[in-house]
Amino acid sequence: MAKADGVLAWPLHLAVLAVLLALNFVLPDYHHGIMARILVLAVFASGYNLLFGYAGLLSLGHALFFAAGLYGAGLSMTYLGAGPIGGFASGLIAGAIISLMVGLLALRTSGVAFMIVTMMFAQAAYLTILYFNAWTGGDQGLVLQQAARVIELGGIRIDLTDPETRYLTAWGLFAVTVVLMLVIARSRFGRVLVAIRENEERTRMLGFDAFANKLAATVISGTMAAAAGAAYAILFGYVGSTFASVQYSILPLLWVLLGGGATVLGALLGTVLMYYLVDGSSDVLQAWLPAWKLSHLGVVGVALILLVLFFPKGILGTVRERWARALP
């Protein structure tokens, strides 16, 4: 990254954050609720992007990390009487520990084996959640009571179930994520991750411990996913095993592929587009072709095929390649 790049990157990303903040005041109720959800999921996508986009490690087990945060928050709030802050912290800790353990084992493999091993861990966790359904509620899940989702700190009462507070909290988490990703992407650590993605052997012969760097990336990525999971549980009050299923390992991959791997804003863009594509196509299919009983998944599939054919680097990846080489 040359020096000139630094000039525009921060204003651009801060401007995007400002627009997202402004949306809180102008969006109609329906989209306001959806955007709050998308901002949390974009944190999940950003975490995935760190590992997949920057470090080049394709995990098919990120649902495990999201679920670690989700259940870390949900279980501690349900059974240990933790508040939102304690619940969020539990989720982060659970995510960090689990991603460290998974990283230590899975990073002994690479390529397809890494995909299979990470997926296997996630599936094992998914089945474990179902097995202990007395505690986890199994596929019914747990509903976090409204009273538990309120922060009371010395006279200040923050009700996280209020739509506006919820949006702003999601925005705050996403803003922290964007800043973190920008710092990492432009740091020495970020440069080493990209180097490992491009040529691991060469990076090692420049004196870098590839395993240690990949492990650090896995833990940061997994903890970010867990932060999203914990926030999701607290803000939307529901903890369920669907979020640990393989679908939630595939989704962040799709979001990042769509938005553009190794771009900070690609995670958000991909999540927004995919969410509205699924949402919109269900409506359109039902309104126009009700007799055909088509699933929105077909539309998503076609979109992905077009994406891979024409924009293999995702939207922002293509933008960067053609017009803005400096985009972090």
């Binding site: 180097a195 060469r202 004196g207 590839a210």
Partner: protein, 241 residues
């Protein structure tokens, strides 16, 4: 003074093939040592054992008085052993600047140098004359420039032992001329281990030459001694020994 690098009985066996077979070898500080030998003599395997890309089947390696036989490659780099690849392997999708920034930031993290990252990287590029191409994608460089970038990356590691694996392969005569000057320059601050096929380059640069054949040392000596050694002539030309 003790040698910078010593190997004792160094061997690497692949199935039934002994690619490197009991090599006792040492390099003095500050020397330029060429390793030559026919194709398949085990030269690249030999230096790969030294830099740690592969681990030996038997034998020991000492660097600067320390046993590094089982040390992982990235730790050897931090001790000052740099390897430049035979097949150019710059990071094609990264900028030329990033390619040298990586080794520079390595030396900064190790505390082996205390410069500013940007300046130190630009200095490494100016050493090989690539300053004005810093923002280019490395893969877009000409082949000759990619070889120079590869050397710049090795140099930026501030090596005490720089291993150059067939650095002039595929370069034009003019480029080779510059390259000889560059290696002479490098040898003022680092010990150089040079694998090379191009005999004029070897003769112009090497203080001493080691000849490998069939994984063993066939001969060792000054360029003049090697030139007149009948066993070497036999190995290369097939003349009767």
């Amino acid at each position: 003074m003790s040698p910078l690098l010593t190997t004792r009985g160094l061997s690497k066996q692949y199935g039934g093939l002994r690619a490197v077979d009991g090599v006792d070898f040492s390099v003095q500080r500050g020397e330029v040592r060429a390793v030559i030998g026919p194709n398949g003599a085990g030269k690249t395997t030999f230096v790969s054992l030294i830099c740690g890309r592969i681990l030996p089947s038997a034998g020991t390696i000492q660097f600067d008085g320390r046993d590094i036989t089982t040390l992982p490659a990235h730790r050897r780099v931090r001790l000052g052993i740099a390897y430049t690849f035979q097949i150019t392997s710059v990071f094609a999708n990264l900028s030329v600047f990033d390619n040298v920034a990586l080794p520079v930031q390595r030396t900064l993290s190790d505390g082996r140098s205390r410069a500013h990252l940007h300046e130190a990287a630009m200095e490494a590029l100016s050493h090989v004359g690539l300053t004005d191409r810093a923002d280019m994608r490395a893969g877009a460089l000409s082949y000759g420039h990619q070889r120079l970038l590869e050397v710049a990356m090795g140099l930026a590691l501030k090596p005490r032992l720089l291993i150059l694996d067939e650095p002039t392969q595929g370069l034009s005569d003019g480029e080779i001329e510059n390259f000889i000057g560059l290696v002479k320059d490098i040898s003022r601050s680092a010990t150089v281990l040079l694998i090379e096929h191009n005999m004029p380059v070897v003769m112009a640069l090497a203080d001493r030459i080691t000849v490998l054949e069939g994984g063993r040392i066939l001969a060792e000596g000054t360029p003049e001694e090697i030139r007149s050694d009948s066993r070497v002539q036999h190995a290369y030309l097939g003349t009767p020994a």
